[in-house]
Subunit: 356 residues, 2 copies
Amino acid sequence: MNDLDFNAWTCPLPLRDYPKIVLGHGGGGKLGNELVESLFLPVFSNESLDKLSDSAQLDVAELLRDGGRLAYSTDSFVVQPLFFRGGNIGHLAVCGTVNDVAMSGAKPLFLSAGFIIEEGLEVESLGKIVNSMGEVSRKANVKIVTGDTKVVNKGKGDGLFINTSGIGVIPAGVNIAPNLARKGDVIILSGEIGLHGIAIMSEREGLEFDAPIESDCANLNFLVEDILSVTKEIHVLRDPTRGGIASALNEISKAANVGIRIYDEKIPVPNIVRGACEMLGLDPYYVANEGKLLAILPKEKAEEVLAKMKQNEFGEKAVIIGEVVAEHQKMVVAKTAFGSTRVVDMQLGEQLPRIC
Amino acid sequence: MNDLDFNAWTCPLPLRDYPKIVLGHGGGGKLGNELVESLFLPVFSNESLDKLSDSAQLDVAELLRDGGRLAYSTDSFVVQPLFFRGGNIGHLAVCGTVNDVAMSGAKPLFLSAGFIIEEGLEVESLGKIVNSMGEVSRKANVKIVTGDTKVVNKGKGDGLFINTSGIGVIPAGVNIAPNLARKGDVIILSGEIGLHGIAIMSEREGLEFDAPIESDCANLNFLVEDILSVTKEIHVLRDPTRGGIASALNEISKAANVGIRIYDEKIPVPNIVRGACEMLGLDPYYVANEGKLLAILPKEKAEEVLAKMKQNEFGEKAVIIGEVVAEHQKMVVAKTAFGSTRVVDMQLGEQLPRIC
């Protein structure tokens, strides 16, 4: 697997004749094959993908022999703009699904990638996005083993949509799900919130801040491995993407039929996010993250897990933000710095559309 | 898993307030949850999906204990119009991926479904499509275990795009791939060609024929089971979708480094497809199918496999159309009814864009 070098890209020639994607690139003919062979295969290459079968064939029996289960997840990505500070739609499409798979405690192994391209997209833009996908896949140690390309007419898409799905292996003895939060559990947040959503928003609206805001988009699978290396007794993992930490915690409180209490002063909101949210009329608790996770686990393991997380580049600023309580079932309540409490409800829709 | 009855649909109410999809349905808030809980879950319901985790957890170790492997595939569907004679985009999205998984000889088990909805789509249309997906999933005995919904602004999509991915189990001893075609093998086609592509085309262009043309869209997994019940010694299976049988056979000849010879007079082209193709200037060999397969296998097993296929509703018109030869490697050659031969090449693009 290698990056495409667009400056030194002299061979294979055919794509050079089409600097922009045309409808034929989505057909079953030569153009579609050239796109696969000149652009996708050189970057993603692996034994399964290279066979170009209708489906990848994966030998995983050995990995499941000790009682492991599969984790399986999918997400479509429709973010606008396609490129933003800290990432792009391809980087996001790999990290998003790697993280969803990892949130069951699984080690992500294989991805699928489906591209829906709008006629007229620059082939070079697609190349850059594909390069990013290759790069972060290697970093996360996952393989893109099967894929598909469709092209839609100009004006019937929005540059590019990417769907990824992912398969991982959940080790025996690991049992993580939103409904497993228990009274007395502690809630750890892996770092600062709001960076992805505000980065997209400022890019889209052309907002300028004193310091540029970068998306936190990252693969969290090794952070999950670190957590599980301390104890398998983790009850819930969740990456608070769309709807932010507020929606994620609400969903958990409802699934597990418990109350959740968080402390405003404990939640790390970077000043730049706080400032942007005040300007834009947004609440940082509802802003999407793409490189953060919430871990809910028994109190007696919390300090040890926290210490381990802080050693990981994506958990350096991890912090305990609250706990699971028996009161106010199915509700999330925040304690303010002044000691009062307020309900942190689900929102009706989305503050920021199309952030992932 | 049940169908939604839109006439008797009184509960749950919330979706009734939104007869059309709005951007908020794609967010992490209440509207998105209502869409999942009122529309997707009632139809697709199963133990894995109902947990609404970031990923489904699947216990497949037992299925792989005897040396089985996983098959894994993905496809995005962008067909226009969304509804056509013989099916709709949802029906197609399930059959397409079930078939891709089955073409490795696997028994398909689990699907993911990702919906990219354009703002303004009628909720009732989405409901009908989801119902179709539920219906054909039950028929194919596969479960939709994980999913995702995104909404894009009006004018930035085309009603609905659906991505599905699928996982199946390939039994031990089955080894099927495009590069395994061997000199002397026989090529079986499971039935009449061209129906899906021409059905879509006539719907799109408002063409009227004496008899209506219906898409052949169908799940072929049980036909594959039937074939494998006769012999595991099948070399290649392929569903000739985009690019038709011509492209599928070309890809096989190139992957296996063999020549392929077919006989024009053996290939079942329905009169109505032949007529439409003549009118539209199309070649039926390049027209997409969605319920047909090509099987390539040793000659000595061919008659027995053919007889078994004919007992299946989707193989009634199965026929031997040609053979794998040592000559003209990487090329497909057709013998005409007059005894002459012509090269059946790959096309540059696609005769009919967006047929799947």
